[in-house]
């Protein structure tokens, strides 16, 4: 960490000194999450979600490993093995429901974490790598979740696999061979199931590695804060431990309470009844839908219904992947020197509309592909792409922003009506 006032690690206990001399892990922990990592003092609740996402990853890995001790990755035995877990394995129902609802928990906290980034300009210089690594984590999460959902081999598992692997076939020229290669056959079958199991077990560890890079990249400039103003003096920061360990701790307690509510009292609320029916390649469910966290992307996929040079299906696929890939370019699309949405009133309005827009996309994604949901998806898709690719670039050139506070401390002291200077002015007389 590069703040000069960061406390140096001075181990008191002789064992810790011994350890640190030989393998500087204690030092590493101290400097990244301990008293040696200064963090802006004004972080709000939205800054808690990164840690929650890390917690969610740990929950998924631990429950996943124990579930894998009982799961059978065969087309004839997978569904039955999941029922074996639910009925015969000691507390198996708890492990299964925690893993299934844990995935939803992981996505909720990650989405809030991403929306925090979008609102507060966390993706802007010098944190572009943090942002892009985060997007890589998001893509890996989606791949992992998709493959994980196939494993119980229920109706939605199978038909979801059928639909999504079928999308690869839409790629011109190389699409069909890629699809066949991915599936290992002509339709999702044994080969698909075993390879999805292997990759589903592997990817979370890849995610863990990228998370380490993500945090490392963050710790170079240090955390952002709600004002978007850089840290200037020691008064702007507090050490991570105990201030943010305590804050993250109680907030995690509250989040786990909500997760427990789901796991113990509403374990199938976010799921789909059809996945309690064994996969039948000869019978398509009435409405194939993915899990709720994929619904916005599913809506974008289905919004393109008319051929235009390219077939509609291909447009849908390009738009669906494009909707995430464009986020990689956000630091260069939105060039406003003001980071935080708190000081960008026009931006704020468009941002709130984006939130509503994504909620609408999510809702439509869960509906059958009928009117009026398709038209609604189309309108919402138009706004989504317009927001990132047209509105933000233009806005960042012409918007009027509010004056920023001189420092974090000042903004904490005075609140919104800080004795602020317009951007770039010298700070007021020293206090």
């Amino acid at each position: 960490m590069s703040f000069p006032w960061a406390e140096e690690y001075r181990p008191k206990h002789p064992f810790m000194r011994w350890m640190d001399d030989r393998l500087p892990l204690p030092r590493l922990v101290y400097n990244s999450v301990g008293g040696g990592y200064p963090v802006p003092r004004n972080l709000n609740a939205f800054w808690n979600f990164g840690v929650l996402a890390g917690l969610a990853l740990v929950i998924q890995i631990v429950t996943g490993i124990v579930l894998a001790m009982h799961y059978e990755p065969s087309v004839n035995g997978a569904f039955a093995s999941v029922e074996h877990i639910m009925r015969d394995v000691n507390q198996g129902w708890f492990l299964r429901y925690l893993h299934a609802n844990g995935a939803s928990f992981f996505f909720i906290v990650t989405y809030i974490h991403i929306f925090r980034g979008l609102y507060y300009g966390s993706y802007k210089a010098p944190r572009e790598m943090v942002w892009m690594l985060g997007l890589v984590i998001f893509l890996l999460m989606m791949a992992t979740a998709f493959m994980g959902y196939v494993l119980p081999w229920g109706q939605m598992s199978f038909w979801g696999a059928q639909v999504i692997t079928g999308l690869f076939g839409a790629i011109p020229l190389v699409g069909e061979p890629i699809q066949t290669w991915l599936v290992g056959g002509f339709a999702p079958d044994q080969a698909t199931l075993t390879r999805f199991f292997s990759l589903h077990y592997l990817l979370p560890f890849v995610i863990a590695g990228v998370v380490i890079l993500h945090i490392w990249a963050l710790h170079i400039p240090g955390s952002g804060n709600p004002t978007g103003v850089d840290v200037k003096t020691p008064q702007d920061t507090v050490p991570f431990h105990p201030f943010y360990t305590a804050k993250d701790g109680w907030f995690a307690g509250a989040a786990l309470t909500l997760l427990a509510l789901l796991v113990f009292f509403l374990p199938n609320y976010l799921g789909h009844a059809d996945n309690y029916i064994e996969a039948n390649p000869l019978s398509t469910p009435a409405h194939i839908v993915p899990e709720w966290y994929f619904w916005p992307f599913y809506a974008i996929l289905r919004a393109f219904t008319v051929d235009f040079i390219l077939p509609a299906k291909l447009w849908g696929v390009l738009a669906m992947f494009g909707s995430i890939l464009l986020l990689f370019f956000l630091p260069w699309l939105d060039k406003s020197p003001v980071r935080s949405g708190s000081y960008r009133p026009t931006f704020r309005i468009f941002f709130y509309v984006l939130l509503v827009d994504i909620a609408i996309l999510g809702f439509c994604g869960g509906m059958p592909a009928e009117e009026p949901w398709v038209m609604l998806s189309q309108v919402a898709t138009i706004y989504y792409f317009a927001y990132f690719l047209i509105i933000l670039p233009v806005l960042s050139m012409v918007e009027r922003t509010l004056p920023l506070p001189n420092s974090i401390s000042e903004s904490v002291l005075h609140g919104e009506k800080a004795e602020a200077a317009p951007l770039g002015a010298q700070p007021a007389a020293a206090e």
Binding site: M69, H70, H84, D88, N90, Q91, L95, P242, A246, W250
Partner: protein
Amino acid sequence: MDGVRRRDFINIAAVSFAGVGGATLLYPLVNQMNPTADVLALAQIDVDISAIEAGQAIKTVWRKQPIFIRNLTPAEIQAANAVDAGSLRDPQSLAERTKEGHNNWLITLGVCTHLGCVPLGAAEGENRGEYGGYFCPCHGSHYDTAARIRKGPAPLNLEVPEYEFLTDTSVRIG
């Protein structure tokens, strides 16, 4: 600094309480590796022994391991009782290895106590070794008519599982 110390109690309390919760979570994570309900259900089997005549034995499976159920002939019983149990490597009398009133029924695991091979002798025509009981071909352990180790490297007699006679023709093992 007493004021500070007193107030830090809440921090210790919070961390300890959370720690207890974390430790409790460990229980299902560890317990899930214990035998599942369907495995435990097979921990007990009922075997119909009405078809086994004197001098015959059957092999069956209990808890995924072989079981030998033998109907001893009077000659075999006599041979077993003729030996001084105290002089054996694993001292046990035939009476100790059978149930009262059913001492012609010898029920043992079919697992050699040396290194775990399945001894011969239960099926028709198999080598029964020098003592007329069971013979393990892996390293040459000979068991007598009461399935006690007499010669060879095995340290113990063939294990007698927990069992009870439900009726004269039905045994519950386990």
